[in-house]
Amino acid sequence: MAKLRIKKGTHALNRSLGGDIAINTILIIFGAFMFIPMFYAIIQSLKPLDELWVFPPRFFVINPTMKNYGDLFRLMSTSWVPFSRYIFNTVLISVFGTFGNLMLASLSAYALKKVKFPGSKALFAIITYALMFNATVTTITNFLTMSALGWVDTYLAVMVPAMCTPLGLYLMGQFIDSTIPDSVIESSRLDGAGEFKTYWYIAMPMVKPAWLTLIIFSFQGLWNMGASIFIQSEQLKTFSYAIGQILAGGIVRAGAGAASTVIMMVVPITVFVISQANIIETMASSGMKD
């Protein structure tokens, strides 16, 4: 009979003290490896110029200052293309790309998993296989497609491909499959609701965690998107690209660069903190059958 150790009132099965110590030690060491660079990025942004270039470099800041953030905004206001334009571009691309991805992917996922027409299994299998390679493979030929469509140097060139990423459809499909019983859909149909109505009023409210996950994945990708070969004119480039330009500015701009990195990372991290529970709930059904 297995030994049951009592821990805070619950049975802790098969847990040895040695193992607990080892696991926690590894967690702390690895946590430090993950956290220190992030922490250092924040510290750098708070250092006044003389502390940024001190030898030996310090892992802490003596006179924290917000001056770097001020410098960043001054740099922004003097750039050739107004910085508000870069931010506008990023927001526009992120919002429309994400919204399009959510609508198209959820509509398809619903149809593939709940309407079950001939071919729906094959289409979902194609999506599963599409997860196995990334956009690097298609960039070159997509450039030809974009030229043929006349989309080079327009927002469409970055927004539209983002709307049909396979990951969004895959996660949505798996989540619908595991959370919505067929009987719910059937009874909605018996009440006389068409497929579109059932999709919108019955299925969608049941998969809110998956929406959020899709929104966050799509948003993260678009928010962090830097230079794209489809976009040439400066007016259409993104915030992430502009930040990269500041970072490339060298020593004089090291402070502003550090500040801009922090601004870049604050947004996705905040979004993740808010939605973490929903994302984990969605990922629980992400499993792939062989």
Binding site: A2, K3, L13, N14, G19, I23, G31, M34, P37, Y40, A41, Q44, F55, P56, P57, L104, A105, S108, Y110, A111, L112, V115, P118, S120, M132, F133, A135, T136, V137, T138, T139, I140, F143, L144, T145, V160, C164, P166, L169, R189, L190, G192, A193, G194, E195, F196, F217, N224, I243, G244, L247, M265, F272, A277, M283, A284, S286, G287, M288, D290
Partner: protein, 325 residues
């Protein structure tokens, strides 16, 4: 009850009738056609996504396979050269051989290591309290979503004494001269791998956390009764078999990610990297497709990359299907 198979056609619409087909009276073909007709709204619903998906994902893959057999400079019509591009790639292009080696080293190191790390860390934090677990998840996941924050590694490994690594090594007299790190062919590849690992706790990590959360406690209790004595046995005999599907999904995400790791290298080591020491297939693709406009040649590179990714994924999928059996 009526003697007809199913009859729900009182007052309902087409949607209600959809399951009323008696399959026994029809051939397979007739039945399929009937099902297609009844469910035609389904095709309408998937159309928007799949039209775009075909244009921007399926068609480009097929087109690059076709173009890889041609010479195409964007101006003149492509001329068919059969396998010349591949022969040139594999036998005449030293830099490509370097790129393919680097890509495989990247994939072979970062892929399995980040997969194991993602799983081990997810498993370790699974037993923390929910608040603590959410916090540790954030710490581990944050680097992969934080945009260009990885550039901080350039500061940590700066090429003069202001870099953190150099200053420590100098202070303790391990070195006399600052190491150039990202500009040194001996170090650049290893450093990029470290950064890749730092960025690699992403989608599969979340999938593992979620998968571990869904394993029912009663399985562990039953396992303990059946004689499982420690957490390793529990992991192997109870947890892993229950998480097989998550493991599969995580593997696919990790492999695909580990082959596509080029943007970060460019940002850290420049393009081209010193002596092409961290040159990957993706860089080679950018070079020929984005700069020299040798589209046929670039398509051959893309096609090879495509088959490498698919191959690696399918092999690993087959291996993983043996877990717990």
């Amino acid at each position: 009850m009526s003697d007809k198979p199913v009859n729900l056609d009182d007052g309902g619409g087409a949607a209600v009738k959809r399951r009323a087909v008696n399959r026994g009276e029809m051939t397979r073909m007739q039945w399929t056609l009937r099902e297609m007709k009844v469910n035609k709204v389904g095709y309408l619903m998937v159309a928007p996504f799949f039209v775009l998906f075909t244009i921007f994902t399926i068609f480009p893959v097929l087109l690059s396979i076709i173009l890889s057999l041609t010479v195409f400079n964007l101006v003149e019509f492509p001329t068919f050269v059969f396998l010349d591009n591949y022969i040139r790639l594999l036998f005449d292009d030293d830099i490509f051989l370097k790129a393919i080696t680097n890509t495989l080293v990247f994939a072979a190191v970062t892929g399995p290591v980040s997969y194991m790390l993602s799983f081990m860390m997810a498993w370790f934090i699974n037993e923390l309290s929910p608040k603590m677990r959410a916090f540790v998840t954030l710490i581990f996941y944050a680097p992969s979503i934080s945009g260009q924050v990885y550039l901080i590694w350039q500061v940590l490994f700066h090429s003069d004494q202001y870099g953190y690594a150099n200053s420590i090594l100098l202070r303790f007299n391990f070195i006399q001269e600052p190491i150039l790190w990202f500009q040194d062919a001996n170090y650049v590849m290893n450093l990029c791998i470290v950064v890749a690992l730092w960025l690699s706790l992403s989608t599969s990590f979340l999938a593992f956390i979620a998968g571990l959360q869904t394993v029912d406690r009663t399985y562990y209790e039953a396992g303990a009764v059946d004689g499982i004595r420690n957490r390793w046995q529990e992991l192997w005999y109870v947890t892993l078999p229950l998480m097989k599907n998550q493991l599969m999904f995580g593997a696919v995400m990790t492999i695909t990610g580990s082959f596509g790791f080029g943007v970060v290298v460019t940002a850290l080591a420049g393009f081209p990297s010193i002596d092409y020491a961290a040159h990957t297939i993706m860089h080679h693709l950018d070079d020929y497709g984005g700069m020299r406009f040798e589209m046929g040649y670039a398509s051959a590179i893309a096609t090879l990359l495509f088959f490498m990714m698919m191959g690696a994924n399918l092999i690993v999928k087959r291996l993983l299907s043996k877990v717990g059996t």
